[in-house]
Amino acid sequence: MTDPTAPTPEADQSPDKGTALLEFRKVNTHYGAVHILKDVDLAIYPGELVCLLGGNASGKSTTLKTLLGMVTPTSGDVVLDGEIVNDKPISYRVERGITMVPENRRLFKRLSVLENLQLGAYLRSDKDGIAADMQHIFELFPRVEERLGQKAGTLSGGEQQMVAIGRALMSRPRVLLMDEPSMGLAPALVQVNFELIQQIHEDGMAIFMVEQNANMALSIADRGWVIQTGRVVLDDTADVLLVHPELRASYLGGHDER
């Protein structure tokens, strides 16, 4: 639940938040000749949980891929910590604190849980730091420690979600990109999953979440954007969006979806 007393940043126009961690400045992307993202402006500030809502083929996933560097923008800038990183490879961005939890978790199923976590820390070489972070993950998710030697593919859905988040945390990110965290999960697990996300968020992690389940996402987010056919059409605090008439009509439905 959103804390109503928390300061609600007014999106990009809030200079009091300091510099954005991750920013899109008029980003356009193309797949071949097809125009996907159209002049998208986004900004994620330290410690906030923001969500990007949109229907199918609206450009949600492309936004994530562009943030991480899997897709290069045709124009506009991706800015990380004030630095333009348009041409920088994924590894450069991961090293500087962006990590993605992919859609459907996509663990390395035939590798052990430990190996999955180690792979999350692939770009790091500080052994002590890695060990400490792993310990931290065990504190967050004791179940993960119990399953350490087991192949990731044999875990239950909820445990896999923990490992997926743990794997992402192992790179010691400053902002966590989450692609459809509720996708393909049973309703009960969706609830668990959002609790996990909130838990991470309360630890101070900035989270950028792409989600179709708008109600659920907005209930824990600080801010949200709505993207439609590659254009950001709404940009406001979560509270406002939750009751936004247009949004309710198109995404939220009259009542809770689930």
């Binding site: 991961v94 390395f108 192949k151």
Partner: protein, 593 residues
């Protein structure tokens, strides 16, 4: 599970199952007969005057089918029926249908001539099927043989467990001892135990009847007496604590290495030659295991790197090299071979590495052939000798010894050295950061990329490491054979190494070594004879059949990853098995509430 329901009535059959297995049995028998295995392998005697490899190629089928048809899945919580006469009848019928297939074939061969498309539709095949006693005898005898063998197969279920085990082991022992005659004779000769071989084998090859019976009795006795010892030992081992277990492992592997190193001293030339060949393929398989097993890159042109190693060595050492012939020492050459292999690995890898799966496999297949054709071409003939190849490659001078083809023992030791290097490298890489990156790429390339792994570089590294290991094998091969021709680097080599890796177990060092030893040692390499030289052209058929069988029934390979199954506790192990059916091959997530 141990509770048994009362036996079913003898005629209470699952007729469809009988027909299905019987039909399969008949098809397999006719197929084997028509490809000419019985006739061609008849010269290899297993038991003097009673059994040849040719007949063995037929009779194992009804036994296996009889065994399978009466085998039932033991389901937890469901009481399985007691095995009884019904199962014997099932086996007999299955075997008989199979035998009927051969009888029918004999009749058809007798009355029609289909020699034109079917080469083995011949009087010899008929003769073989009739046991030289006329068509009527042939028809009757195969029905009887089929039924008898089927009963034998199914009887393995009916007999008390221990007896069945003893019978099965004895049968296996007889087959192994007779098939491995060359190896055993050679080994016993080395230990000056020729009197054993003399009494074991008949003069012109094959076990004698008496020794077969003695062997059967002996093995059965041993099995019965040693029953439970194996499990007891296993339990004892499992009960050891971590440091003790480690030291036991160390002692065991140390003993193994010592035996391996001393063994060649007691072996004759033929066996040492065989071991050297096996070693060359172990080296190749270990290299390909890194590419295919760890990084998941299906490289079908792996022989190219083997060729690069061979040709580099040839050019740099042979005085007959048409281009430059610096006649360098092997030690220096090996360093240059590494560089050459790395360069070719990069050159071949760079353009193909961005492709995925099937496309990559096809392109590497092409590259493998291109490299061979380049060595064969007139264009490069001034450098690499074209079809004439490069001859007169000198032996490797190690200072204290010479490694040359005429002394396969020395080659074996050189190969063992390189194998040790390859095993060490593979083992270290597997647990390294790079190794983890490879496995991540193998599992899910996109996600590996999202973890910040530079997938292109990592895959290129796999290509290069694999190329270097293959080039070692090529270098030793060149020194061993003494000459090198493009025809040594056929595509078949790539395929066979791949089969070795798959059958042994992808990504599993022990498995790959075992795979190479068993396949290359017993069946032989593309041009190198194995223990079963007589198989000749049927080698490839067996390779193919084995590949299909393993892919279907045991995709994890001959040697499952013991380390991992040890790590898993019983409970998790069960969960693993349970989940396998639901999740493993499923890209979509299962929904567990």
């Amino acid at each position: 599970m141990n509770e048994l329901a009362p036996p079913r009535q003898i005629l209470d059959q699952d007729w469809r199952r009988v027909l299905q297995f019987g039909g399969l049995c008949a098809l397999a028998l006719v197929f084997i007969a028509l490809i000419g295995m019985p006739v061609q392998l008849d010269t290899r005697i297993l038991i003097r005057r009673h059994l040849s490899l040719g007949y063995l190629s037929l009779i194992w089928i009804p036994i296996i089918m009889g065994y399978l048809v009466s085998k039932e899945l033991v389901l937890e919580g469901i009481i399985s029926a007691k095995k009884g006469p019904r199962d014997l009848l099932t086996g007999a019928l299955t075997g008989m249908i199979g035998g009927a297939g051969l009888s029918l074939l004999a009749v058809l061969i007798n009355n029609y001539n289909l020699r034109d498309p079917l080469l083995n539709w011949s009087p010899q095949t008929l003769e073989q099927l009739n046991f030289g006693n006329g068509i009527g005898f042939g028809i009757g005898i195969w029905l009887l043989i089929g039924a008898a063998l089927g009963i034998f197969g199914s009887a393995l279920h009916v007999l008390p467990a221990l007896t069945a085990k003893a019978v099965g082991t004895a049968l296996l022992a007889v087959i192994l001892v007779s098939i491995l005659e060359t190896a055993i004779t050679d080994l016993l000769q080395g230990f000056r135990l020729t009197f054993v071989t003399d009494s074991l084998y008949a003069k012109r090859g094959g076990l004698s009847v008496v020794s077969t019976i003695v062997l059967i009795v002996f093995v059965m006795l041993v099995t019965v007496l040693a029953a439970g010892q194996g499990e007891a030992l296993r339990e004892k081992y499992d009960a050891l604590d971590e440091p003790k277990r480690k030291s036991t492992n160390l002692t065991l592997s140390f003993t193994g290495v010592i035996i391996l190193l001393l063994l060649p001293l007691f072996l004759g030339k033929i066996m040492n030659e065989l071991l050297a060949n096996v070693g060359l393929f172990v080296l190749l398989a270990l290299g390909l295991n890194i590419v295919v097993g760890l990084a998941g890159i299906l490289d079908l042109g792996y022989v190219a790197f083997f060729a690069v190693g061979g040709y580099t060595t040839a050019v740099l050492t042979s005085p007959n090299s048409p281009w430059i012939s610096p006649e360098l020492h092997f030690g220096i050459v090996i360093l240059i071979v590494i560089v050459a292999a790395a360069i070719v690995g990069l050159a071949v890898g760079a353009p193909v590495i961005r492709m995925r799966g099937d496309y990559l496999a096809i392109v590497t297949l092409g590259f493998g052939e291109i490299i061979r054709l380049l060595f064969l071409s007139d264009w490069l003939a001034p450098y690499f000798g074209g079809a004439q190849g490069i001859t007169n490659i000198p032996p490797v001078d190690l200072g204290f010894a010479e490694v040359k083809g005429s002394d396969p023992r020395s080659v074996f030791y050189l190969v063992i050295f390189f194998c040790a290097v390859a095993i060490y490298v593979s083992w270290r890489l597997q647990g390294s950061r790079l190794g983890r990156a490879w496995m991540a790429i193998r599992e899910d390339e996109k996600v590996a990329e999202a973890m910040g792994i530079n997938t292109v570089n990592a895959k290129l590294m796999a290509f290069v490491v694999g190329a270097i290991l293959a080039s070692f094998s090529g270098a030793v091969f060149a020194a061993k054979v003494g000459s090198i021709f493009p025809s040594s680097f056929l595509i078949l080599v790539s395929i066979i190494i791949l089969v070795v890796v798959i059958v042994g177990g992808m990504g599993n060092i022990t498995g790959v070594i075992v795979g190479a030893v068993v396949l290359i040692g017993v069946l032989g390499g593309p041009k190198q004879p194995g223990l079963l030289q007589e198989l000749g052209t049927f080698k490839l058929l067996i390779y193919g059949a084995l590949l299909i069988f393993m892919m279907l029934k045991r995709p994890e390979g001959l040697v499952p990853n013991a380390r991992r199954s040890h790590e898993l506790h019983q409970e998790e192990f069960l969960q693993d098995a349970w989940l396998k059916g639901i999740v493993d091959d499923d890209d979509e997530e299962e929904v567990t509430a």
